[in-house]
């Protein structure tokens, strides 16, 4: 009797534990694309697994096919298997593979994961040899492709995160006067005035919308938008100049947060504590709100077809009219150290080919929807009108924060801080101080 009871309890505990210990790894690896990273290569033939995040057109893994074909024409002994991963569950999928000793050979993503996560954990191969003789990649990109002086990422493309407005709604509300259509910039005062004009038009029934804009803070997805909005309003930075502290509680950032809180209270700006960027983008595409804070060419290509209006890309408003935008990417490739030199060499060859080959590289850059990391490649979108606004935004690129120590942990603190300020009316200085204290504690690891 007692033994049975003990057994029954042990079974209940085991059922619970097995969920956490197994980690659901089976679900996340698509069938037929099991990485072969840990298997040593035999003879001259090598099979590489390339984990590709859903960046722009690479959401469809078939986009890799022409690039792989071109690579195989020169390297017939190398077989490339694409493992498509999404931002939704890619971290889980890759963590399971890495922890299980089946890390992919190559990962296509940006410095936040490649340098901040994988290089930091000592999982990557030194790619410094690929950088030898490379002179046309700007310092802003090369500096974030390395850790402690060693290159672990080779970049392909880059862009700037910006915002967008519903052009027709602004026109109907008489708010176009507040934007500089040529430079696509506006001042903070203009931004406030435009939101007031939109609200008045909504109240008068001139335009049918629920909100002027929505400060989304339901999750960390797309948090670069809300970061850039806050930092630009009074021209401050997310991290202090010397990188020693997060900066949300600076006088200018607090002023910006107070301005937004006031706008939310007055109804000239909306807030959603359950929306992430994808929800806000959908609301923008649906015409529920008149602006989005999460825009780039990738989102334009994804949502433009759904819109019944002109999504007009804009820089974030700033008090001096000089915006500083966050970098989208730079997206590039890294090589995992799986202990097989033949695979490592083949993987480096593939990385070099994708990022440096003028034909395949341009094809890959265009698939991401962004701009080449190699400045020497010039304007690869010459004559393409839809790209022009995003090319312009690249001129406003600002500092890159995503390699600041404690970055991953602080991202989980930023949106709850916005929830507290915008959703519950918390004191801005107190909430920002709390955020900075916790984020800085994370810097120490």
């Amino acid at each position: 009797m007692k033994l049975k009871r003990i057994l029954a309890l042990a079974m209940a505990a085991a059922m619970a534990l097995s969920i956490t210990a197994c980690g659901g790894g089976d679900e996340s690896t698509p069938s037929g694309s099991q990485p072969s990273g840990s298997q040593p290569s035999g003879g001259g033939a090598v099979t590489l697994t390339v984990a590709s995040f859903n960046i722009g057109g690479f959401t469809d893994s078939a986009a890799w096919e022409p690039i792989i074909e071109a690579f195989n024409a020169q390297n017939p002994d190398v077989t490339i298997e694409i493992l498509p991963v999404t931002y939704q569950d890619g971290d889980q999928q890759l963590a399971n593979l890495i922890a299980g000793g089946n890390a992919p050979d190559v990962v296509f993503e940006g410095p936040e994961r490649i340098i901040g996560n994988y290089a930091n954990e000592g999982l990557l191969v030194d790619l410094s040899d690929l950088w030898e003789g490379v002179t046309d990649i700007p310092e802003s990109i090369s500096s974030v492709s390395q850790l402690d002086g060693t290159y672990y990422m080779y970049p392909l493309s880059v862009a700037a995160h910006c915002m967008a407005i519903n052009y027709e709604a602004f026109e109907a509300a008489g708010a176009l006067q507040y934007i500089d259509e040529e430079t696509r910039t506006w001042t903070t005062d203009d931004f406030v005035a435009a939101c007031e004009a939109l609200k008045a038009a909504m109240d008068a029934g001139t335009i049918t919308m629920a909100e002027t804009g929505i400060i989304y803070c339901g999750a960390q997805g797309g948090d670069q938008g809300t970061r850039a909005l806050v930092n630009n309003l009074y021209s401050d930075y997310y991290v202090t100049e010397d990188g020693s502290s997060y900066n949300a509680n600076s006088a200018n950032n607090v002023k910006a947060l107070e301005l937004l809180q006031g706008m939310v209270d007055e109804g000239t700006m909306g807030v959603s504590t359950s929306y992430a960027a994808a929800d806000e983008l959908q609301a923008f595409a649906n015409g529920t709100c008149a602006m989005t804070f999460c825009w780039n060419y990738s989102n334009y290509s994804q949502y433009a077809a759904q819109t019944q209006f002109t999504p007009f890309a804009m820089a974030f408003p700033s008090d001096d009219g000089v915006p500083e935008l966050e970098m989208a990417g730079p997206y590039g490739l890294c090589v995992f150290d799986n202990g097989d030199q033949a695979k490592i060499d083949a993987a480096k060859e593939f990385v070099k080919f994708v990022c440096d080959d003028q034909t395949a590289g341009v094809e890959a850059v265009k698939t991401t929807g962004f701009f080449p990391a190699h400045e020497g490649w010039g304007d690869i979108y010459e004559g393409d009108e839809t790209r022009a606004p995003f090319s312009l935004m690249s001129e406003y690129l600002g500092r890159y924060y995503s390699l600041t120590p404690g970055w991953v942990a602080q991202r989980a603190l930023w949106w709850p801080m916005l929830q507290a300020i915008m959703g519950t009316g918390a004191d801005v200085q107190t909430a920002a101080d709390d955020y900075v204290a916790q984020a800085n504690a994370g810097m120490a690891g």
């Binding site: 209940a12 534990l17 889980q92 963590a95 339901g218």
Partner: protein
């Protein structure tokens, strides 16, 4: 002498009749071997995928374990950190609220629906079973997409219906957890209803008729005859629903990601968050161990209350 008398007076313990009495030793051995052979496949899977991971989980919880591998033995540090973590406290409270609300609600509602439909004709009974089972077989993603549409602050049908346009059901701390419990409820009742319909259908009708002849009321028939008869089913429903409620994860990941301001944070979601976003695998394992202990305690209470092993 006294002792001898006492021993003589004390009745001899009745020998329990052996289940194998009358069988030869060889037959018993053969049957035992056969039984173990039948058990073996399930046992292998159970050991490989449940018992061993369980020990691995406990083992890793004692280490600083990140994406790059084990960085050193930390003893109980992960557990100490856990008990000082305000997010864990919030998650624990929310998890217990979910269990305390969802388990009785699911059990009572399932029993009520089961009682109402088990006597219906086969077609109607099957129809209701299908209706209630539909959310179980529908994928979590599809369910959450539909609920997000229903609860959307701007275009949601709920706000349109009750005239609360703009109210953010999932974005307000006061209602977010209630919404999660409601959705969990809808996805949890299918299986218990099917089980209750089957269990109630198996209650011996002759006993019920005899009780009715003796003048038992409907309530007496239910409590004195049906309730004891379906007790094993009730216990199973309680245990399974409790475990499912403790491990409520997909709904939270897809709908609120623990927000707003940790209002829907649960222990299970924190396991995921620690492991796959923060890559703190040792800490995630420690949370998993604590979750398992809590579930075992709750299950023990349920076994005790249900007075069955």
């Amino acid at each position: 002498m006294e002792q001898n008398t006492a021993a003589a007076v004390k009745p001899k313990r009745a020998k329990k009749p052996s289940q194998t009495s009358g069988m030869s030793r060889a037959l018993v051995r053969r049957e035992t071997i056969s039984a173990y052979c039948f058990l073996a496949p399930a046992l292998v899977f159970f050991v490989a995928f449940v018992v061993i991971p369980m020990f691995i989980c406990v083992f890793y919880s004692l280490f600083d374990y990140s994406l790059g591998g084990i960085n050193g033995f930390v003893g109980l540090d992960n557990y100490i950190q856990l008990f000082q973590d305000p997010v864990f406290h919030k998650g624990l409270i929310n998890t217990i609220i979910i269990v305390l609300v969802a388990v009785p609600a699911v059990t009572a509602f399932s029993l009520w629906v089961g009682s109402a439909i088990y006597r219906m004709n086969a077609f109607t009974r099957s129809f209701f079973r299908c209706v209630f089972y539909l959310p179980v077989v529908t994928g979590s993603v599809a369910i959450t997409v539909v609920w997000k549409w229903i609860l959307d602050p701007y275009n949601g049908i709920l706000n349109q219906l009750i005239g609360t346009n703009g109210y953010n059901w999932l974005g307000e701390g006061k209602t977010a957890l209630a919404c999660i419990i409601l959705i969990l409820f809808t996805t949890s009742i299918g299986q218990p209803i099917v089980l209750y319909v089957a269990a109630l259908g198996n209650v011996d009708n002759s006993i019920i008729e005899a009780a009715q002849v003796d003048g038992a009321t409907k309530l007496q028939v239910f409590w004195k005859i049906k309730w004891p008869a379906i007790m094993p089913t009730t216990l199973y429903v309680l245990v399974i629903t409790t475990i499912n409620s403790f491990q409520c994860f997909a709904l939270i990941q897809l709908m609120t990601r623990g927000g707003p301001m940790n209002a829907t944070m649960t222990i299970m979601y924190q396991v995921y968050d620690s492991a796959y976003r923060l890559y703190d695998l040792g800490y995630a394992n420690a949370i998993g161990v604590i979750l398992a202990i809590i579930i075992a305690i709750f299950s023990a209470i349920q076994f005790k209350v249900a007075k069955t092993d």
